[in-house]
Amino acid sequence: MFELIKNVNIDFLGKRKLAGMISGAVILAGLVSIVLHGGPLYSIDFEGGTEIQVLFTESTSVESVREALSDIGYGDAAIRSFGNEDEFLIHVKTSTKSEEQVNTIREALASIHGGGYEIRRLETVGPKIGKELKGDMISAVLIAMAGIVIYISIRFQFMYAIGALVALTHDVLITLGLFSLLNMEISLSVLAAFLFIVGYSLNDTIVVFDRVRENAKEKRHDSFLSVINLSLNQTLNRTVITSLTTLTVVLILLFFGGEVIKPFAFALTVGLVVGTYSSIFVAAPVVLAWDENQKKKKNN
């Protein structure tokens, strides 16, 4: 038998205070960043605006693109060189009629090299649709979370649902914070990745809970703390292996999946790591704390 981890008996719960401090610090840093930025940084999907990925036939400098855009009143446009010297991503803030906006930008681009350009991607979202999309996606995340709590309450007990919920919120907050710290935009696909994280993180958490439930039945005389610790150790191999295979494919997606998918793959990568961590260091301790609290109440 080839095993990554042999006969381990790590006292995971003994490190719950340290873990709590680390998680708290990371979340706090993220929240501070979000507050300082005046809220999460949304992409045009939610904020409205126009994004154009343009490929010029000749190599062009960011300055000349900026100049052309300034001439038509888009001096505040964000222009990013896209890999090579001739490809750029132009991001323009919303205006009332996106159509006219697109047309004037086209004209400006044509003026740079006398027409030698190709628009590889153009996305423009009106402020109205952006708002609606934001509402839709937020309710999607909330509904998914509510559904999951209900499911776990039925299949397990309410305290497990609380553990899972805290872990999920933890994961989403950390990922959100990290996006803010790195100045990365939250787009539709990034939000989709968040929802995936919700599902995946839970997958991990449930595997642990399942073991806890089973062990709690078989080892009635052991303390709940040692039962949880035992379960965490028993499932550790599986947790590590599954996370590794999934992480492998997600990293491949991040590095070889192309520019378009990069933010999405990044959100998945962060979510995977945080989700694996949280099922061990957040979900399980919360369940233990809840259980101890209940017992205290009973004894009083």
Partner: protein
């Protein structure tokens, strides 16, 4: 082999073979070259194939996704007469308020109007006089009609977009979503979506000899065109092309209902000398083309050489709705030979409404009214052409060709012969579309160039293959023999997922590919759970067979619980997500579902077959 095991093996074989069958079309579609595709399109088989394949999303094959919304501001302001600052401010502030609060405009507007003493009828004399609520209703109906008209204009232009399967959908009351896959000219497509429609009234030629001549000329030009491609055939073709087509006089039924009930002369098929006439049916001055030949004929007629075969003062135009004229269920499209210039254009139309009428009062009709200038012209046209057909043509497509029964003096025309209220309604919308502008704005546009799409496909495929291979190797090293079994399950899982997506005719997007990659990573989870459990049981010194049984049984609930939550999340995502995100939800959902089947059922069956005969003392795990 025990009975249950035999049953399991049978089921596994059945699953695999049906998956292979479901994948057949997808595989052949994506491996064939362009000429093979062309052939299948010409023969009409492509439609059938395309029903059973995985489609590429707009972000992969390149294309355009446009959401149009009625421009209420523009629409309402053009309806206002003698407007003043007060009404204009009221409209603007209501629009703004509705947008900021994400509420509907009309209730907001109504609320704001109620707060003032404004009498709306004063500003909107085009609607019937009445209390504010009536005017408001009329205005709302007007705005809804603009969306109807815009949708009809876009549908009518479907062919001009030059894409195989454009989708045009209504989203709520005020929006139209247009998706054009593989579009090459974005600017042109954007214009086509938004331009106003050209409605024309054109007389249809009622001259059998002229039609006969045109058909023969096309035959000749077509044969010559084919001759250019295969010169050795040319002599034969020209010689044989001189065949007359039987002509049948218009039947009485024409008078009442346009083209319904045509008598037909059906010519032979597959005749090389008459490449055009062998593909069509000709009856009472109209050419009827069987649906399966429409595409190839359209293409040929677009060639300048063949188009020139129609004399300059005439033109051919297609009818929009297919009809079963032979009565055997085969649908035909009409091809009309009509005058080269229009008698009248649609801007004279003031209104068109569907209703019940006709002789019996129970027929579906459309009432058409025109302005004074139009009425005068219309009187002249109808008086001089009684008994002839006049076609209602929008942007080159014939929506109706009705027989003029009488001189129409007052511009109020009743059009009869509609099959149902739906038909009548559609024609009324078409007539209005030609006259009234339908102001729409692009609220959202997502355009991906074909080159970027191709890059994404390449990168996505590479990532999937790479990730897949790495996971397969890892499993084989870590779990040895059992790992190989898991690898078989992994291959099957990918195959099953793609098979389900093919059958569902699903669209694969870039996030969808990511979902597929994720399933590869996560699919092993179920196997890992089982194998780790089997290892534990083996450590407890159980026999191999007992360990396998217990391992599978105890891991089962965990697998179901854990995967169901991810499936739940995917389901929610599917429900709320839009466009490309939906593609992610779809692949994730089916991928995980399939992984449960392969991991729980198929790997277990393989283990069962292995341990069936001999008592194993060692398990490679």
């Amino acid at each position: 082999m025990s009975g249950t095991l035999r049953m399991r093996v049978f089921l596994v074989v059945l699953l695999i073979s049906s998956a292979a069958y479901m994948l057949k079309d997808t595989i052949s579609y994506y491996t064939m070259d362009e000429t093979q595709k062309e052939d299948l399109i010409e023969s009409g088989e492509m439609d059938e194939i395309r029903k059973n394949i995985i489609h590429q999303g707009l972000d992969l094959q390149g294309g355009m996704h446009v959401v149009l919304e009625v421009d209420l501001e523009e629409l309402i302001k053009t309806r206002v007469e003698d407007g003043d600052a007060e009404i204009e401010a009221l409209i603007s502030s209501s629009l703004e308020e509705a947008q900021n609060n994400e509420t509907e405009f009309f209730p907001t507007f109504a609320k704001n109007v109620d707060a003032t003493n404004i009498r709306l009828a004063r500003y909107f004399p085009i609607y019937e006089k009445g209390p504010n609520s009536d005017v408001m209703d009329a205005l709302e109906a007007d705005a809804k009609d603009a969306v109807d008209r815009a949708e009809e204009i876009i549908r009518n232009r479907v062919d001009q977009f030059g894409v195989s399967e454009p989708t045009i959908q209504r989203q709520g009351a005020w929006r139209i979503v247009v998706e054009l896959a593989g579009i090459s000219n974005q600017a042109q497509a954007r214009e086509l979506i938004q331009a106003t429609a050209l409605l024309e009234f054109v007389l249809v030629h009622e001259d059998p000899q002229l039609l006969d001549e045109v058909i023969r000329n096309i035959d000749k030009a077509w044969a010559a065109d084919m001759g250019e491609e295969t010169p050795e055939d040319s002599i034969d073709i020209v010689a044989e092309a001189d065949t007359t087509v039987d002509e049948v006089a218009p039947s009485l039924a024409d008078v009442l209902s346009g083209d319904e009930g045509d008598s037909l002369s059906i010519t032979g098929t597959g005749d090389v000398g008459r490449p055009f006439s062998s593909l069509i049916n000709v009856g009472s001055n109209t050419i009827w083309v069987p649906e399966e030949n429409v595409r190839s004929i359209k293409r040929k007629l677009e060639k300048p050489m063949i188009a020139a075969a129609v004399s300059s003062d005439s033109k051919l135009a297609w009818g929009v709705s297919p009809r079963d004229i032979t009565g055997d269920g085969r649908m035909h499209r009409a091809l009309y030979l009509m005058k080269g210039t229009a008698e009248l254009t649609g801007d004279v139309v003031t209104d068109a409404r569907e209703s019940l009428g006709g002789f019996s009062g129970a027929e579906f009709v459309v009432h058409l009214s025109m302005n004074d200038e139009g009425s005068r012209e219309w009187t002249k046209i109808t008086a001089g052409n009684v008994g002839k057909r006049i076609a209602i043509v929008m942007d080159g497509n014939v929506h109706m060709a009705g027989v003029i029964r009488d001189k129409i003096a007052d511009g109020r025309t009743q059009i009869e012969g509609m099959n149902d209220l739906q038909d009548a309604k559609k024609l009324a919308v078409v007539l209005r579309a030609g006259a009234l502008p339908a102001p729409m704005i692009i609220e959202e546009e997502r355009t991906i160039g074909a080159s970027l799409g191709a890059d994404s496909v390449a990168a996505g495929t590479q990532a999937t293959v790479f990730g897949f291979i790495l996971v397969v190797i890892f499993m084989a090293i870590y779990y040895k023999g059992a790992g190989l079994i898991a690898d078989i399950a992994l291959v099957l899982n990918l195959g099953f997922t793609l098979a389900v997506l093919s059958t569902l005719n699903a669209t694969l997007t870039l996030p969808g590919i990511a979902g597929l990659i994720l399933t590869v990573g996560m699919a092993v989870d179920a196997n890992v759970l089982i194998f780790e459990r089997i290892r534990e049981e083996l450590r407890n010194a159980k026999t191999v067979k007992k360990s396998i049984d217990d391992g599978f049984n105890r891991a089962l609930t965990t697998i179901v619980d854990a995967n169901l939550t991810t499936i739940l999340a995917a389901g929610v995502l599917w429900q709320f997500g839009s466009g490309t995100v939906k593609g992610f939800a779809t692949t994730l959902f089916w991928g995980i579902l399939c992984s449960m089947v392969t991991a729980i059922f198929i790997t277990r069956t393989i283990f069962m077959v292995m341990t069936e005969r001999k008592t194993m003392t060692k398990l490679s795990i």
